[in-house]
Structures are given as C-alpha cells and as structure tokens.
Amino acid sequence: MAQVLMKDLNKKYDEVHAVKDVNLHIRDKEFIVLVGPSGCGKSTTLRMVAGLEEITAGEIAIGDRVVNDLPPKDRDIAMVFQNYALYPHMTVYDNMAFGLKMRKFAKPEIQKRVQEAAEILGIQDLLKRKPRQLSGGQRQRVAVGRAIVRHPQVFLFDEPLSNLDAKLRVQMRVELKRLHERLETTAIYVTHDQVEAMTLGDRVVVMKDGWIQQVGEPLELYTKPTNRFVAGFIGSPAMNFVDVGIQGSDGSLTAQGTGIRLAIPPANAARLGPYKGQRVTLGIRPEDLHIAAGADQAPYVFDAVVDVVEPLGSEILLDVKAGPNSLVARVDPTVRLKVHDGVRLAVNPERLHFFDTTSEKAI
C-alpha cells in the first residue's frame, strides 16, 4: 500500500537537464503511465524512483518515507526491465527467487511465493528451465514473476513490452492489466507507445524535454489535450493540424486556411474572440472527418483531393490534400475512392481543437 510523491524533481547530467521540476502525486493502487518520445525524461524519472539514478534536486517519497538517500534495495520496489534482465546462469526458479534469497526469506516461504507467482503467470512448467530456452514472451513473464514474488509497495516497469513482437505485445498488455487488477499494487509504467499508455494507465503522464506536459485519465488526454504536443502525441493516426487565420465579426467567426474555410462553432467562439485577425492552429482528429452528406451544414465542409488510400479492413485511412494541407480522415470501409479523386469532407463541429500558434497551448 503506497502512494508515490515526486516534489520538484530534477535530474541534471553534465550538460543535459533531463528531468525538470516534476511534481506528481501517484495514488495508492494506481497504475500510472509515463509516456513520451525518447529523451523526454520518463525513464530517468522512473530510475530515480528505483534509486538507480541520483536525484539532483527535489524529493521522492514512497509511502510516507522520503527515499532520496535510501539505497535501491531498501525502497521496497520491484522493477521489470525492457530486456527482461534475467540471469542466464540461473534457472527460472532461481531467477524468481533471487530477490527473496538476498533478503534471507525462509526456503518454504520462497517456494510458496514462487509457486504462487508462477501460477498467476502460467509458467509453472518452466521453473526448471534456463532463460535461454524461453521465448521472448515467456522471459517477460518470468521477469514480471520475479517482481511480484517480492510483494513490493510499488512496481516499476521500464518499457517492458518493447522487445516483444506486435501480437504478443497486445496479449501481454491485457495480462498486465488483469494482473494489476488482481494485485492492486501501485505501478509506474514507462513506455513510448501511446496505445500502451492509453490502455494500461489509470492516469497517463505525458512528458517532453524533461517537462510534464499533462497528467490525466486516458480519455481526458484524448478529448482535452492541454497543448499541441499532447494532442499530436496521443491518438493514432495523429491529429491533423492546419494553420488558419481567425476572421469575421464576433457573431460569426471563421477559420480561414489555404484551401480550407470553416465556420467556428458557437462553443469555441467566445475563447477565440481575442484571436480575431491572428493565426492559430486548428486541430482535427481523423475520426472527426467524414465524407460530406446532405445533412452536413455548408460552413463545416471543405473540398480535398485523395492522395493515398490505406484500407485497414475495419476502416479506410484517407490521406487527402486540401490546398497545401495534408490531412488524414478515418472513413467507412465501404467508401470507394481512388487516388486523385475529388472528395468533399465534413468536420464534426463539436470536436474541433484550437491551439495558440506561439505558445502551442489549447485555446
């Protein structure tokens, strides 16, 4: 049972300021995911919690203990590494028992815990094998097993699924989620994969260049990104961005871009009023674009030319050009369109995003 608190956390290497003023309150039993592109500081943050990196400034508390000066072994955490980090010279059993042996647990207790974990993970038959004889998925299961036998206060996952092939990754993702629901241990999970972040996290922390960009529940990040980076990072295919100018009178504002002209819905009008005469970034998610039908109102429709057609079976990704702007639309698989065909697209007016062009903050 433990919450994790990070207060004004900073990490500086000689020339790199890797983690900047991170403040984060991870609740007890919460599954929190740190996500961001490589070099965003997510792994460094995790490693500071583990005690593998020194903290330059700030504080980390696990439970109600500040752990800054505690050696890793005494922090009551268990970590799962991307490359599994299993000892090749030990059997699966010995790998899983290693941490308990080091902590001088009695043999029967070690046996009980390893058996228990092996059953949860379905690896009872592998206990006598060496890691070399296991597949990638099995190895990762053992690595997770090694963490859970310890009954730690916090699980730390450092990109644990990144070495697995796509199919296995999806399968293990579901298993990890199930495991967390069963064990209810606080978990911090680092990944660069936004799909993993969205599916696993109770809350997701998006990081970039050492800064936290946004902390929120997955859907909150998706529907209400606080800035252009989060908007573009979360969601696949990524949100479309169009540079537009805000024009018109207060009653009826329009967003005028090259090749695109859209009315600004009344819901956004108040906030966009001050931007009249200025340029802003318009964001449209691919699923908020569809082929225009009779019901679509004229001010929310624009013309484009099909550039690439990507049929995915359940849907078609339509890469189109509207003037100089490239956009992706997610359309029904029954749509029959060829490259260079003209197409009339409509937007979902309630789901438009606007960002300040300079600060990149959501308007």
Binding site: L52, K73, A85, Y87, H89, K130, R132
Partner: protein
C-alpha cells in the same frame, strides 16, 4: 562429395602446414637423438629422451618452478585484472587517465619495458639507489635462496604486464553484459561482495576462463621475459628456459623437443577443464 573436400582443402592445407606438421615434426624429433653436433642423421631412440628427463632432478625443479610461477602469476593477475575492470566499468572523473595507466603496461613493447624493470631492479650505474637494490637482492637471495630475487623480478614483471591485459579483457566482458543485469542485482542486494560472487563472476565466466587460459599458457611458454630480465643468468630455470638451453646451447634437439612436449598433456588438461566455462552461461541446457 568431391566438391566438399575440395572446398575444405585450403583450410585443411593451412592447418596441416602451420599446426599439424610442426607439432608432428617435434613429436618425431623428441623420439630421436637429432643434434647439429652429430654428423650423422637422427637416430630413433624411442622414449629414451623422456625417460632421461623424468629421472633428471633438473627437470623436476624446472617443472615445479614453472607450475608455481604460472599459478602464482595467474592468481595475482586475475585479482588485479578484476579490480581494474570493476574500477573502470563505472564512469568517474579522470577515467580516461586511469584507463591509460592500466592499459599502458600491455600496450608498451615488452622488450623495452623489461629493460626498464631490469634497470630498476639491477641499476647499471652505481648510486645510492643501486647500492640499496643490491642490498635488497642480497637479502632476498640469502633469505629464500640464490636466484629468488630474479624469480621475484620475473614474477612481478609478468603480473605487471598481464594484469593490465586481463583488466582490459574483463572490462570488455563487463561492457558486453547488459547493464540491467547489474542494476537488477543492485535492486535486490546491498552487499557488493555478494553481488560480485552471485552475479558478476557467473556473468563474466567465459571471459574469466579465457583470461586464466591465456595467462597459464603464456606463463608456461615464457622464455623471452625470463631470459631478458635475468640476462641469461637463469638461476631459477623454467621449462621454457630449460628447453632453450637444451636446444640452442647444448644442441640436443631431441631432448629439447621432448621437454617442450611434456607441457602438452598438462595444458590440454587445463584446457579441457576450462572448456566448459568458455561457453556463455546461457548456452547451458537444463
């Protein structure tokens, strides 16, 4: 079928030329009385050379010294080499300089550095230092036996040079191990000593085995350094110097070959023992 053998031919030819032929020739010579001092050709003498060696006290003395020398230097080099490797494995200020200091004894030409050692231990110019070293030599020789000082010098030189090499070899080994394996141990165990024995040593096993093997073979075959460092006044003979004496000074090619070949079973035994350890630890099948 024929093509396969044809394709194998160059490699086979090479092996025969550089390995099988010299070894075979030496084995044959060891069974004869070949000597440049004889006008006639070599005469087959059976195992007489071997029998003579085995009953010769000088051989046994050399054998004991060689084994002692090899064991002692290998142990010392391993301990120092591991220490160097562990020291250099983690980043710290001035690491490049320390690396240079560790690597230099190996990188420096042996013939030059051995002269440096020789002059350090037996200074050529009479100074107070030379007198001191002379006194030290006298004391050591008196306490342990004549030649002890020379033996000590050879041993020190071997350790000095070899631990540098083993340090660099093991550093490469440590760098080849994913850092997570060491980090994971750090999360579970606070005692550096236990981590070393339970994790570092098993992970470095192939590299340690290679280091032991190289150290033993070079110690067994060491002739040049012993010769250079003692200026030919070999009071503590090793197998290498014995064989050199027999072949070059005494002209007894047959006996010298037999002497060299006496080492082979011993080295083969060591190699067989180490052979299993050469496999990376993850190759083992449960």
């Amino acid at each position: 079928m024929v093509t396969a053998y044809l394709l194998l031919a160059p490699a086979t030819l090479l092996l025969v030329t550089v390995l099988a032929y010299p070894v075979g020739w030496e084995a044959w010579i060891s069974l004869t009385d070949l000597s440049p001092l004889n006008d006639r050709g070599a005469v087959f003498v059976g195992f007489r050379n071997y029998v003579r060696l085995l009953t010769d006290a000088a051989f046994w003395q050399a054998a004991v010294i060689t084994v002692g020398f090899a064991t002692l230097t290998t142990l010392a080099k391993l301990v120092l080499g591991v220490a160097f490797a562990l020291l250099l494995a983690r980043p710290f200020r001035g690491r490049a300089l320390v690396f240079l200091a560790v690597f230099l004894p190996w990188a420096y030409p042996a013939s030059v550095s051995v002269m440096g050692w020789y002059w350090t231990l037996s200074p050529p110019i009479p100074t107070a230092y030379a007198a001191f070293m002379g006194h030290l030599k006298g004391t050591v020789d008196h306490a342990i036996g004549t030649g002890a000082w020379s033996f000590l010098a050879v041993t020190l030189f071997n350790i000095w040079r070899g631990s540098s090499f083993i340090g660099v070899l093991l550093l490469a080994g440590i760098n080849a191990v994913p850092p997570e394996l060491f980090e994971c141990a750090l999360l579970e165990c606070r005692s550096a000593w236990r981590r070393f024995w339970l994790v570092t040593v098993p992970l470095l096993r192939p590299f340690l085995a290679l280091a032991v093997f190289l150290s033993l073979t070079t110690a067994f075959a060491d002739l040049a350094n012993v010769w250079l460092l003692t200026a030919g006044r070999v009071v503590f003979p090793v197998i290498g110097t014995q064989a050199y004496w027999l072949a070059i000074k005494a002209g007894q090619f047959g006996a010298a070959s037999a002497l060299s070949l006496m080492l082979v079973p011993f080295l083969l035994a060591v190699l067989l023992l180490l052979f299993k350890a050469f496999d990376p630890p993850d190759e083992a099948r449960a």
